[in-house]
């Protein structure tokens, strides 16, 4: 299935990408799986393994065990610092 992934702030800068649409292998079922799969790209991608990295699923903060569905929007970002 295909999903959209967004990257914000220092993650966006480190990875040099702000948005991509990817076709997931069948083994990637959860946010945690997705993170591991992206880290396996090597190079800077292990920045996503950081303990501080947050994830949102369809624009709501989510946890590693959340299941991903077709056409979902997933985002990775550091702790927020607005206000």
């Amino acid at each position: 299935m295909s999903i959209t992934i967004l990257y914000f702030a220092n993650l966006r800068e480190t990875l040099g990408i702000e948005r991509e649409t990817v076709e997931l292998p069948i083994t990637v079922q959860t946010i945690g799986d997705l993170r591991e799969w992206l880290c396996a790209r090597g190079g800077n991608w292990n920045v996503l393994a950081g303990a501080q990295v947050r994830a949102a699923l369809n624009q709501v903060l989510t946890m590693p065990d959340a299941s991903i569905g077709a056409d979902d929007e997933v985002a990775f970002f550091p702790p927020v610092t607005g206000g």
């Binding site: 914000f8 949102a56 624009q59 970002f77 702790p79 927020v80 610092t81 607005g82 206000g83």
Partner: protein, 147 residues
């Protein structure tokens, strides 16, 4: 109860925003907060956000405030883009019959905005640019509101 959220690059008019709250029926108290770029060592600040999620997260925070206190209206404006020292960052205004609800809800909204709304600040200093780190004291402030 009317709630309203704006994310914008443009500045906001504190007088007009406050007048929009004080003028509502049944309002006796308006508490508000304005956040400003502090100049100490910072030459400029760029605010990035997650369009879509930001509005959703802020609307949810306002709805929680509405469930918790008896409010007439609540308004949040958050600026994004590049801002200079002294410029407005955020406005939170809460209107209610009595002051206690207005103060508490206004502070609650700021505490959750700081820890839940997807904004990120990058500061430009004389030593270069750096992403602002989240502060533990903000998490602690939000945790105070647990029922």
């Amino acid at each position: 109860m009317s709630i309203s959220v704006s994310i914008q690059t443009a500045d906001f008019d504190v007088g007009a925003e406050t007048a929009g709250l004080t003028g509502l029926d049944g309002v006796g108290a308006v508490a508000s907060f304005v956040g400003v770029v502090r100049g100490t060592d910072v030459l400029a600040m760029t605010l990035e956000h997650y369009p879509g999620m930001t509005e959703r997260a802020l609307a949810e925070i306002l709805q929680q405030a509405q469930q918790r206190w008896s409010l007439v209206a609540a308004r949040v404006i958050h600026r994004v883009g590049r801002l200079l020292p002294g410029e407005h960052i955020v406005f939170v205004g809460v209107a209610s019959s009595h002051r206690r609800e207005a103060f508490e809800a206004c502070e609650f909204i700021m505490d959750f905005l700081k820890t839940r709304a997807p904004f990120w600040k990058k500061e430009e200093t004389s030593q270069g640019a750096r992403w602002v780190e989240a502060r533990q004291s903000d998490d602690a402030a939000a945790a105070r509101w647990r029922p």
